[in-house]
Symmetry: D2
Subunit: 408 residues, 4 copies
Amino acid sequence: MSAAHAWRASLLGAGLRRCWPWTPAPGSRPAVARRTLGASRRGLSTTSDIPTKTLPRIARRVAATSGDPGADSEADHQFTLSWPGATPKTVLVVKKADDEKTAAALVSIASWLHQAYPQISIVLEPSVHQQFHASLPFVRTVPPEASDEYSRVVDFVVTLGGDGTFLHVSSLFRKQVPPIVPFSMGTLGFLLPFNVADFQAQLRRVIEGSATLLPRMRLVYSKHREDGSLDRCGHLNITNEACIHRGTYPHLTTISCYLNDHLLTTSVGDGIIVGTPTGSTAYSLSAGGPIVHPLVSSMIVAPVCPRSLSFRPLMLPSSATVKLQVHKESRGRATAYIDGRDCGELLQGECIEIKRSPYPLMCVNRDDLAAGWALDINQLLQFNRTFSYPHESPFSDHDPHAGSRDGQ
Amino acid sequence: MSAAHAWRASLLGAGLRRCWPWTPAPGSRPAVARRTLGASRRGLSTTSDIPTKTLPRIARRVAATSGDPGADSEADHQFTLSWPGATPKTVLVVKKADDEKTAAALVSIASWLHQAYPQISIVLEPSVHQQFHASLPFVRTVPPEASDEYSRVVDFVVTLGGDGTFLHVSSLFRKQVPPIVPFSMGTLGFLLPFNVADFQAQLRRVIEGSATLLPRMRLVYSKHREDGSLDRCGHLNITNEACIHRGTYPHLTTISCYLNDHLLTTSVGDGIIVGTPTGSTAYSLSAGGPIVHPLVSSMIVAPVCPRSLSFRPLMLPSSATVKLQVHKESRGRATAYIDGRDCGELLQGECIEIKRSPYPLMCVNRDDLAAGWALDINQLLQFNRTFSYPHESPFSDHDPHAGSRDGQ
Amino acid sequence: MSAAHAWRASLLGAGLRRCWPWTPAPGSRPAVARRTLGASRRGLSTTSDIPTKTLPRIARRVAATSGDPGADSEADHQFTLSWPGATPKTVLVVKKADDEKTAAALVSIASWLHQAYPQISIVLEPSVHQQFHASLPFVRTVPPEASDEYSRVVDFVVTLGGDGTFLHVSSLFRKQVPPIVPFSMGTLGFLLPFNVADFQAQLRRVIEGSATLLPRMRLVYSKHREDGSLDRCGHLNITNEACIHRGTYPHLTTISCYLNDHLLTTSVGDGIIVGTPTGSTAYSLSAGGPIVHPLVSSMIVAPVCPRSLSFRPLMLPSSATVKLQVHKESRGRATAYIDGRDCGELLQGECIEIKRSPYPLMCVNRDDLAAGWALDINQLLQFNRTFSYPHESPFSDHDPHAGSRDGQ
Amino acid sequence: MSAAHAWRASLLGAGLRRCWPWTPAPGSRPAVARRTLGASRRGLSTTSDIPTKTLPRIARRVAATSGDPGADSEADHQFTLSWPGATPKTVLVVKKADDEKTAAALVSIASWLHQAYPQISIVLEPSVHQQFHASLPFVRTVPPEASDEYSRVVDFVVTLGGDGTFLHVSSLFRKQVPPIVPFSMGTLGFLLPFNVADFQAQLRRVIEGSATLLPRMRLVYSKHREDGSLDRCGHLNITNEACIHRGTYPHLTTISCYLNDHLLTTSVGDGIIVGTPTGSTAYSLSAGGPIVHPLVSSMIVAPVCPRSLSFRPLMLPSSATVKLQVHKESRGRATAYIDGRDCGELLQGECIEIKRSPYPLMCVNRDDLAAGWALDINQLLQFNRTFSYPHESPFSDHDPHAGSRDGQ
């Protein structure tokens, strides 16, 4: 079992079954982690002596030009990352657990970084540190009990793995997240714009201050009991979507959806999804939602198998507060999920509240976002595959008789 | 201009603009065709001396076994074609107009047939006959004024071209259509199961009585004025779909849809489609209709851009009579289309009526229809293309963290 | 707990957790039922002395007229129910459990039947019999160990309750089901054409041989282990749909769908539904399937939240055999459901097979099915609700400027 | 014929058939308008002596609080309208043509305004002025040749009619549009939040500076020839959507869609829509697009009957430039439409370009936009109508057997 899994398992054992600690409160650190800590402290090269991180400059790449009221062009553009008068001091490298490919990539990247930028400290998560500190003696770690150190010292984050590894980073930073450089081990994806084979060029651009950032909106989730009191899980970050789903309850769940405290609709069905633009290509897409460009500032509300012909997906402003409440008289209970993980059951009358996080994920991205996104929706989602009928080049200059939509 | 085009153009010139003569009544033969006739009669080898066609045996391939009331398994199977105690006497070969590939195929097929089965008469449409009778002196034709001859003599039909060529055959036979052997010039398709390169094997199977037939349901269309009287176009055959559409009228059309004279719904929008299972992969599919296997006996009713969130496509029994009426108080007029062709404008209060034709198209098909159909929806329609996310083999045995629907 | 629940609970206790006994095999009767039996035999008025049922005549209401091959108009019509030279001898009255309204209706109907048709035996299910035999001393029952008696004696069935009560009848008859007369306690529905207030008129029509029958196709379900062997649950009847769903497994399930042993598609997602026309307005509708008239002879295949943009619902011929197999390398397991009930987990490599049952439900229906169905889809499903914009009577004779689709 | 129609007809006569002058360039004013001018100048009370309009203060109602990069909460809120240290001097009242209800409303409003706020000038469009200046001698007008006067003098606009009347205002102002107060004559709607019966209260709020404004994004449209040169229609404003549609061409149109000059997709089908959030409840909704709240800053791209199973609607950032080009080898030509109006044919290789206008429509709205919008999508669009099955209160505490999605 990987360390990450052990950690999660220990949480379950500690009675925290009902909320997965996306952003665990400091006090809720599980016992097993503390035990690990004792071990890791001995001889461990930690971050305690690393100075506070460099303040990056994150500037809008395209200046707003319109002075018109209502013109919000400022919201629509990408950002550039630079380190005015300084360089980054510390990088956190996060890798997929139990995976040989990412292990090899980690060794390559850490070795190269150490040689090319010896002044930059390289930090690994404790379990990864334990595995690699012998072969990479210069790497450091943050002991579990000092996880606030991440926020203090990390200038930027490198991820090696898949979407899950990327999403995992979100849980390490409760508020502001340092810029993330996501590397794919193979095929590129929406969240993974760079192939690890190009790591030198990409990291140079980040460190030397010429990288492009794409802000990815996050949402904040909280669960409330019927009396309105906050569930002990507190506030969790959402990168893709929150969802209430009947799970295996045989009865359809009745969920009321509120927009800024006004009842929007009451839905009977399998569930409701509230997603980010990033999540528009995840579960929401399967449920029939639109494909939303990551620069659109909006929340998607999409139903899962609604008992209705007319629950068309909704796009709400990102300033909205959305509340999903299991109806007091719903036959079935339901389960809340964040980014696919079980966050505990909801009884009748309980609700979840979702609003925009002020802390988006700032992702280093391809310079031409539009070109990259166009490529992604075509290659990854198989968007708009046109039929391939016999003799039916849409550009044939022969006149068709009729045919199955134009084919002669 | 091809002969087929000339013929169509002449119809337009003859004031028949509003109804395309899919199955022209004998009396409505256009003037230009008659002129052609004079020319073609001279020295023409016609079918007048061909004896009446052989009666084929068309048997259900799978016997029904259930004697239960309501069990209609008989309706669901394919048929076999044989010629008990005889052989076919006459084949009609129809080709796409103005096309070199089909011209070459025609010459190959006719030559081979003439040599391999000298007793079989080969009939071409007049314009094709005119083009090829010099090089293929043994071919015959049916003069335009004698088109009923087709029904009397043709044992089976070979089509060379695309879907349009296939559909064209439907117009040559007002009632029962002889079995059709459709050849594709390249990629295969729903209506085109055989590559022309295999013509010898396929034709041998047809002539020697071991071919499999797939019946494709047709619908019959008629247009009625507000007083109920039948439009002069009479009854036309539908292979894919009939459609009422606002065309370029800027106003949405209001159309009432009746099922066996009961009002089903009144729709405001761009239009309504009534289609066959064969047509389910044509315009109806674009409008959001389901993919219907050709052996399902049903009519599809699908809206085109309805002003409603809840006009889900309907599947009606093939015994239904469907009437689409432009509402008396509809703002906009509308146009009727059959298989993509303009069949004339509909004023407010006018309607079209659609019911099953007793004369399906009997199509020689692959022996294993299910396998062929599975192939077609996957290869031609790009059915159910699964997303290709990075690191996201759906069969990976690694545990994901989370990700865009399962990808780490 | 109602008796029905007790019975079900006992089954669970007896180790049959993984398959709900829709049509329990005779030998699988649970212990608790046998205990009940001892009690119920004492002084119980059973059906053992009732003679075998009258053979009804179920005739197609509309004669087929076409002798054309491929013309399957016979499959499309309703039936009439009559009792030539005899009258029905026995009626089974089934009611919703624990419900006062249906209790009152049962008393009214049984009393009236006993008075109006004293020669007709009235049979109740054991638990209902236990509740009512004091006040309705003439009612009889079938002891649980003798449930085959139902098939021997019951001429027709009356249901009092909702859709669930109707569906429950399906489980009492493993093969042929007697005609069912379904009464609604309030609003009418697809499966409930008659209001209980009209029971006298409707029952008279049934008993005196002038009722109209609508055959509702059922499917047969079986579950198979990876080696192909049949699961002990045997064959179960499906009235609405069978479904494989990931349930609460966080990983998407990979399911291969076969049509007559040919791979149709492999789907990654929440699940797949295979439904009847009757089920087209149930879960399949929520998943995006078409609305299918009950006289269409077809199976629907619809995906639940597929990881694909292009899994359009499919309509397969009712002669098809559909197999859904959890892919051997699927990350997640899955659960099988019939008509909403859990039928047990499916491991990787296990599959379910679905084909048409030769035993449809013969439902007494309104004489004009088309009118009733039109009413149902409009009133119950809110089909095609047109937008109600200001000043936007679609029949206004004012010219619009433009507007949100036509409204000025 | 109404004046508006006459004006449009004259444009057609003047050879401008291919572009409807939504925002006519000054030089393109048609001849007939100039002729009208001579007439209207005589004895006409024009706006020439009205001083330049008051500068309103349009402030975001909710202050932005986050200083985080990427936080664009400023883009998401409503605005308030006030007139610091002054009052509005001039109101333009626009009414639906040829309509008695709006005529009566105009008289009431003008009379009341004249009495309650005698210092405010009331301006009518020329044709309306001609009709009413006798009975309302204090009203003024702007001669057609001086239409730039609108921008100089109008402080706010009142519309009486439907959506079309509202949209018409957009054409009167080429750039910045004064705040609009839209009155419905009956049912309220998305664009028509106020019933005319409440005009006194609503106008008081506007004039006295306590109204709430909702900015509605507009798009700018331009048409380009194959060589890239701009079509003479110039730049037109879009309130709902631009669309390229095959119209009555029988062939499907092949359209390439570019995002910031990167090819996004090439679609074969009936057409493509590019819409605003306001237009999300117009044609885009019929084509399957999501329902977009007007405060979301985004463009919708939705296909019309695409020849693809996988053209899911797209939401692009409002900073995008979208180009739709009729493919050089498209079989069919196509027609461009803006807000439902024909804007001329597009030949193969020609394109339209769409980007955000810096000049949104500032609409006086209900103070609680969320509540109003929730009401609108429910009442006007019949959003998420849940099925009404018999006995199927979703809140029943009885356990169902099964049923058509939960109904017993």
